[in-house]
């Protein structure tokens, strides 16, 4: 590697300050352009017909009446999306999920789409499409899907054992070490408990939206709300049989994604409609479409067994974690098994993850995917066991927490990590000493997420006036433009205001992986550092040429080239102004595989008040402690901490997909699927810890996801503390809490 990515304990002037975000004014004044906020001459309105059945064979689709309706310019079905996947099963799953082929696999599965001159005509056209369904038995529950005789959803999902038979069990993965059975033999106290979590949606406020334009020359453009313009380009091009370079994808501002915008849903359909109609097509999902036809998180069913000796040492741990993947196999169960016991140092530990196919939408990543559900089960049980042993739950965790040198339950040995500092911060936080009132309770829980980096590049162009245009390819989902501008300014030694960060389209920069895995600031930050250092090398050369001295005799400090041993200096602006005579434009570039992301840990404290008459729960105080490695822009780090906690609280208390006996979702809207609003939440306090990641020059770790992992258990532990009843089913909605309280009453 040209530049060393190791942490250097650099002292910062700008990084760590709370500057204004460059996209702030546009966002608060309504000027920011999101997925639905662009227009093209002659654009049509796209709409999608969705299956009203949870599971049905598609005998035929008659689009003739819709095609004859005045104003309809194109109608497509799966026949317009031939299978070009060439044996790539993952790509085929995307194709089939975007548009049903032989079978509709869930309520909301797209079966046809239209493009018309206006929205009313498009809606009318959908009603004129006649689909002949043969309704099939369905299964939406993760445990029911594993039972013998359950309806088989995907004939191509087969048992591993011969003879291979169709199954809904799409994979079993095991992690751990030691001898679990022997470990439980040594335990003085063993707790066994089963848990369930319901399916939730990321709940981003902006629905999926795009404007697709395909020309008769085979070139296309896509404006879209996405977490990854390059991945969208690659998938859409592959599904439509295009060369990647012929499709330019531009990411709009994004009104939330949280993993839900790391997959294509309607975008290939919009492009196919545009190609057929030879007109641009705008396709915007309704909220109902988002719930029924995009990708929520898994529902789960989890069994935990945990044993410890009287002195508070965990000696054995086991978890069986069953994750619904929706109608297509994925890796949710695998990840759940990896993360389950990651917070702890346990000699004998095992986790088994099951990937289960059900008649629900194909699940998508949701902020630390799979970890919150596992965390709910594990951290609830850890608290139960601490109670059985009569040990403070924080002390119990400190006694068993993973440390540098601990063999993680998923295999590798940890480097420097922050779980012990986070627990110590919790232990010493005033929140833990605050008095509780009647019907109030306190809980805490820990959480873990891997974080990752990936393919990244950055361009740093210096204008003739010495200002800097920084182009990156990771979509800004949470303030990254401010953070990356800070990093560029830090490296160059210039004011923050002198840098403007832009999110590049796919035609303007090399490939960048998506903004997922908490990688945006970690990886684009790394690439920005190296691009800036590349530019500085050129600036030093230009100064050397100007002074006619050797470049080794030129240093760069505080935004200036300095001739060593003299008083001569040239500012960045002076060098830029003279660039046409010293070699032409000056720009730095970097491409990097930003591996070495540091894992992240968090510990949360939650106080609740539970109304024993109704079972309604109010979170009255909440504190997040998390390791950020290095907080580049503390405001946005705190924002990530608070956002994850808010989403986790919603998951814990209210949010769930409710399915009817017919396998159809009953609550596809924000009136009946209730995410927390401001009045539901207290101020969420935050504590940023900085345990540097040794594999990043600034010590940065990802911060976006870990904060959603502890809340389910933290809230559950608080509710149990308040009511004296252990809650094992999330969400802990008022009816569930009331039922649990009533069931615990004598008689």
């Amino acid at each position: 590697m040209k530049h060393d990515s190791k942490f250097t304990n650099q002292k910062f002037k700008l990084v760590g300050t709370r500057v204004m975000r460059p996209d702030g004014v546009d966002k608060v004044t309504g000027r920011a352009r999101y997925g639905a906020d662009t227009f093209a001459p002659g654009q049509l309105v796209g709409a999608i017909l969705r299956s009203p059945h949870a599971h049905a064979k598609i005998r035929s689709i008659d689009t003739s009446r819709a095609e004859k309706l005045k104003g309809v310019k194109a109608v497509i079905t799966s026949a317009d999306l031939p299978d070009l996947t060439d044996g790539d099963s993952d790509l085929y799953d995307i194709l089939e999920n975007c548009m049903a082929r032989e079978k509709a696999l869930y309520d909301g599965h797209a079966v046809a789409a239209v493009a018309a001159s206006d929205a009313e005509t498009a809606r009318k056209a959908l009603k004129l499409i006649k689909v002949n369904y043969k309704i099939l038995p369905h299964v939406t529950d993760v445990d029911e899907a594993l039972k013998p005789g359950a309806p088989i959803i995907q004939p191509r999902v087969l048992t591993k054992d011969k003879p291979h038979k169709p199954t809904n069990n799409a994979g079993v993965t095991t992690y751990g070490h030691g001898d679990v059975d022997a470990g439980f033999e040594k335990a003085d106290v063993v707790i066994e408990k089963s848990y369930k979590t319901e399916q939730v949606h990321q709940g981003y406020i902006e629905p999926h939206a795009c404007l697709a334009s395909m020309g008769p020359d085979g070139q296309g453009e896509l404006w879209v709300t996405t977490q990854g313009q390059f991945a969208y380009r690659n998938w859409c091009a592959a599904l439509l049989g295009m060369e990647m370079s012929q499709l330019k994808v531009t990411s709009s501002e994004i009104g939330g994604g949280f993993g839900g915008k790391t997959h294509v849903w309607t975008e290939p359909l919009a492009l196919a409609l545009s190609r057929k109609a030879n007109r641009p097509v705008k396709l915007v999902m309704s909220r109902e479409d988002v719930f029924r036809g995009s990708g929520p998180a898994s529902s789960t069913s989890i069994d935990v067994k945990l044993g410890a000796t009287r002195d508070g040492r965990i000696v054995a741990a086991h978890a069986a974690l069953r994750y619904s993947g929706g109608a297509f196999p994925g890796i949710s169960g695998d990840i759940g098994a990896m993360v389950a016991w990651a917070c702890y140092d346990i000699e004998n530990v095992k986790s088994v993850g099951y990937e289960v196919v059900v008649n629900r939408p194909k699940v998508a990543a949701y902020r630390a995917p799979s970890a919150p559900m596992a965390g709910f089960a594990i951290e609830s049980t850890v608290t139960l066991l601490a109670g059985e042993l009569g040990i403070d739950p924080v002390e119990f965790r400190l006694k068993n927490a993973a440390r540098e040198g601990t063999r993680a339950s998923y295999g590798p040995t940890y480097g420097p990590i922050g779980i012990v500092p986070s627990l110590e911060a919790v232990k010493n936080h005033p929140h833990m000493r605050a008095r509780l009132g009647k019907n109030q309770g306190r809980g805490m829980a820990c959480g873990f997420w891997f974080n990752f980096g990936g393919q990244t590049c950055a361009d740093l162009a210096i204008g003739e006036d010495g200002t800097v245009a920084l182009s990156v390819g990771t979509v800004d989902v949470g303030g990254a433009r401010a953070s990356l501008s800070l990093i560029a300014a830090e490296e160059l030694g210039i004011p923050y205001e002198q840098v403007r960060c832009n999110i590049a389209d796919t035609a303007s920069l090399g490939h960048n992986d998506m903004t997922d895995g908490s990688r945006g600031t970690f990886s684009s930050g790394m690439s920005t550092i190296f691009a800036a250092r590349d530019a500085i090398e050129q600036l030093r050369e230009r100064a050397a040429k100007t002074w006619d001295i050797d470049v080794e005799n030129v240093s760069w400090k505080n935004g200036k080239a300095i001739a060593k041993g003299t008083r001569k200096s040239l500012t960045l602006a002076e060098l830029a102004a003279a660039s046409s005579n010293t070699g032409g434009p000056i720009s730095g570039h970097n491409q990097v595989v930003a591996d070495g992301a540091g894992v992240s840990f968090a510990s949360h404290i939650c106080d609740v008040e539970v109304d024993p008459e109704t079972g309604a729960t109010k979170v009255i105080r909440y504190t997040v402690v998390q390791d950020a490695g290095k907080a580049v822009h503390p405001d946005y780090v705190e924002g990530q901490f608070q956002g994850g906690a808010a989403q986790g609280i919603g998951w814990a208390l209210n949010e769930e997909y409710v399915y009817g006996e017919d396998g159809r979702i009953q609550n596809p809207g924000f009136l009946d699927y209730r995410i927390p609003v401001c009045s539901d939440l207290p101020f969420i306090d935050t504590v940023i810890l900085e345990v540097p990641n040794p594999n990043h020059p600034y010590g940065i770790r990802g911060v976006g996801e870990t904060s959603i992992v502890p809340p389910l258990a933290a809230v559950a532990n608080a509710v149990s503390n308040a009511t004296g009843v252990r809650m094992t089913h999330v969400p802990m909605s008022p009816p569930r809490i009331l039922a649990a309280i009533n069931a615990s009453l004598p008689g």
Binding site: M1, D90, K160, G171, V172, T173, T174, Y175, Q202, G257, F258, G259, G260, T262, G330, I331, D334, I335, A337, M338, G353, A364, A365, Y366, R367, A368, P369, Y410, G411, P412, T413, Y414, G415, F450, N451, F452, G453, G454, Q455, D516, G517, S518, R519, V593, D595, G596, A597, N695, G704, E705
Partner: protein, 81 residues
């Protein structure tokens, strides 16, 4: 010769073994040799795999050196949100 530990479904590709010994001075060499000795592993590598070397997880960097005596763990290539 590095001892490579495997977890999850990756063990299926090496006849159920928890660990195998495979030559490799870099992640690239190690994966090439692993696929040569255990052909079913090639499909898993193509699908996406991560390699942890001394505790640091590498998803893409195949040039990463593997020091003598390093802890090497093969993992599922995870997704994120």
């Amino acid at each position: 010769m590095p001892k490579v530990e495997l977890f999850g479904g990756l063990r299926d590709a090496v006849d159920g073994a928890k660990s195998v010994s495979v030559e490799g001075k870099t992640i690239r060499e190690l994966l090439q040799n692993l696929a040569r000795e255990y052909p079913p592993m090639q499909e898993r590598i193509d699908q996406g795999i991560a390699v942890a070397v001394d505790g640091v997880i590498y998803r893409d960097d195949r040039d990463q050196p593997i020091p003598k005596g390093a802890e090497v763990v093969l993992l599922t290539r995870i997704a994120g949100g």
